[in-house]
Symmetry: C2
Subunit: 370 residues, 2 copies
């Protein structure tokens, strides 16, 4: 056969037509990647295999013995670190709630075509590693450096651009003391699983998942803002293709509920019996602690405050909330919404953008009480 031009297999981003169902390409992503089954919100720390996973290209085959993390560019002393070199340093463990920037995309109308998340692209883990700031200090940051560019080992094509996955952080964020950015080698006390970046990944508390570069193999300091694909083409809030847009950065507030009662297999509608029903879930924001969670049993016409656990020792992890609801026979649409210390509240109308990023529209849980 004649070669297909690259632009036929790697096409521009697009938005679904009215009524267009999820197509084969979106389905292929949905069967590879996976979210948190919502009943797993019951666990403060998400057990292995239930944390969301989004892989842009392939999970690389990593040999931890041969792996080197190089640190170069505008540094005084370039480094080449083996995972064992990092394991020998004082370890820091942070409990972090991580969320995909595309969470909620498939609920948008019209729907941007990409990984079709509903609300479940989230998870919380204990990440262990070393502070990035210490590694950069050891390399010696030259005064003309303004950003650090992080390169992962996953390689592919996206909208016609062949690339290793690559993202940057401003040096102010990369070297901050609070929150501390980690180069992590362990998740929940065990070596990173392959799909979460084995042997090394970046962990950036409060930021959406695209910043937490997995399979980290290089850090390069540069003297101008990075303009790579994942920084300036993807991961922008824009209304039209030609719009430069705003960068996707911190996680918007969100509350999620453990769906109460039990489900129908196919519709996932919940069945509860009349009487008191404990509603509970988790809430988080990258902009500050969550200060309020409200619950509605009538699709947002009326709201009542839930009891909310303060952030405590794990500032960058989700907080738990609960409230008892008196279920009466009928169908109900349950919802919850979070407000953070920065004054941000989840919207009741979709915050549409062309990439389908940061859609923190409130979750809606249909319940039949019989």
């Amino acid at each position: 056969m004649e070669p297909a031009p690259l632009h036929e297999i790697s096409t521009p981003g697009r938005v679904a037509a009215a009524g267009e169902g999820i197509g084969p390409q979106e389905l292929a992503l949905a069967t590879r990647n996976h979210g948190l089954p919502l009943e797993a919100l019951r666990y403060e720390v998400t057990p292995p295999g239930l944390h969301y996973v989004l892989v842009h290209y392939d999970i690389p085959a990593a040999d931890p013995g041969a792996w080197r993390l190089t640190v170069g560019g505008l540094v005084r002393t370039p480094l080449a670190l083996a995972p064992a070199d990092l394991l020998a340093r004082p370890a820091v463990t942070l409990r972090i709630t991580m969320e995909c920037a595309g969470n909620g995309r498939a609920r948008l109308n019209p729907r941007p075509i990409s990984q079709p998340w509903l609300v479940e692209a989230v998870g919380t883990a204990d990440w262990t590693g070393v502070p990035l700031s210490g590694v950069l200090a050891e390399a010696g940051i030259r005064p003309d450096a303004v950003e650090a560019v992080f390169t992962g080992a996953d390689h592919g094509i996206e909208r016609g651009v062949e690339q290793d996955y690559r993202r940057s952080l401003p040096l102010s964020a990369a070297t901050a003391e609070d929150p501390q950015v980690l180069i992590a080698y362990a998740m929940n006390g065990r070596p990173l699983p392959p799909q979460h970046g084995h042997p090394l990944r970046l962990v950036v508390p409060g930021w959406y998942g695209m910043a937490h570069v997995k399979w980290l193999r290089d850090i390069t300091l540069v003297d101008a803002p990075f303009t790579g694909f994942q920084q300036t083409e993807a991961y922008r809030y824009r209304q039209a293709p030609e719009d430069p847009g705003e960068p996707v950065t911190l996680i918007a507030p969100r509350a999620l509920m453990v769906p109460p009662g039990f489900p129908d297999f196919m519709s996932r509608v919940r069945i509860v019996h009349p009487g008191p029903v404990r509603l509970e879930g988790r809430a988080w924001s990258g902009h500050g602690p969550v200060v309020r969670v409200e619950v509605s049993a009538d699709d947002g016409r009326s709201w009542a405050d839930a009891e909310l656990t303060p952030p405590g020792a794990h500032r960058w992890a989700w907080q738990s909330w609960q409230r008892t609801w008196s279920a009466t026979p009928g169908t109900h649409l349950l919802t919850a919404r979070a407000t953070d210390a920065d004054g941000r509240t989840q919207p009741l109308e979709q915050p549409w953008n062309r990439g389908g990023f940061g859609n923190n529209l409130v979750q809606r849980v249909p319940v039949l009480c019989t």
Copy 2:
């Protein structure tokens, strides 16, 4: 609101209309459950979190301390076993390839509406537990018993029927010496993760996943074939709704390939460069060892034998295969097909049935060589 009748939220099985895209209910299942990213075929034992998961209802909240597995019905001595009682017995570990009976469903035309798997609902793990036959012998099988019925703790509604997940095995299979059915408490040397049946599950070598009852809490011996929902309504090969159909039992043969080269993010089409390309993957069957794997680079018009690893010590686990392909510029459709010792070969045309079970149509991997 007035209660919705149950039949409005828990509807009969159906088949998609011509051109009907994946709908919101199928998507909700696809984001909860997940398959094996195909590059993870590189691992002989699937790492945690990459093994396929299919949960009918919710993952139950299990307290292993309070958990009891009851054994009753047509036995001489009913038992109530704690997980610790099983841990105290001699352990057996089996490496098992497990596959969802619905694997391949979303490739059928017309498409049965349910969990929309493509080809990835598979995984291989080392399962540790105790032989079911020993537990049944301890309880004392009465001569009138013909089947063992296994009840899991997951509870829900399916096509209008409220149920705990429940399946049976003939006693001949339940007490066989080869293959041995296990009551498993560990996966890959660690306690079962919640989504894989914590604290106890059944493992039935060679059978599709529906037989491996998770969150196992009861075994009841009965004197007639079990006619519960998951035995006689679901998991039947049928062409029409009124057809009684044949039961879904052993895994049909399948070979899968690690997609070569690197992918486009959205289309998942692979890019390779001209020259020798190593094709490799795994193959398995529940009917006997795989005895032949063939590879085609022209969508099945011509075939060449791959080098196949014999089953060796792990008879119920997948076997690896490989062959070098000389890539030439152009587009190619790569495929592989397995043949087992029972003489079964993967079909080149879809083996359609109304539930979308056992579709082992050959995988097709589109590749662009540039």
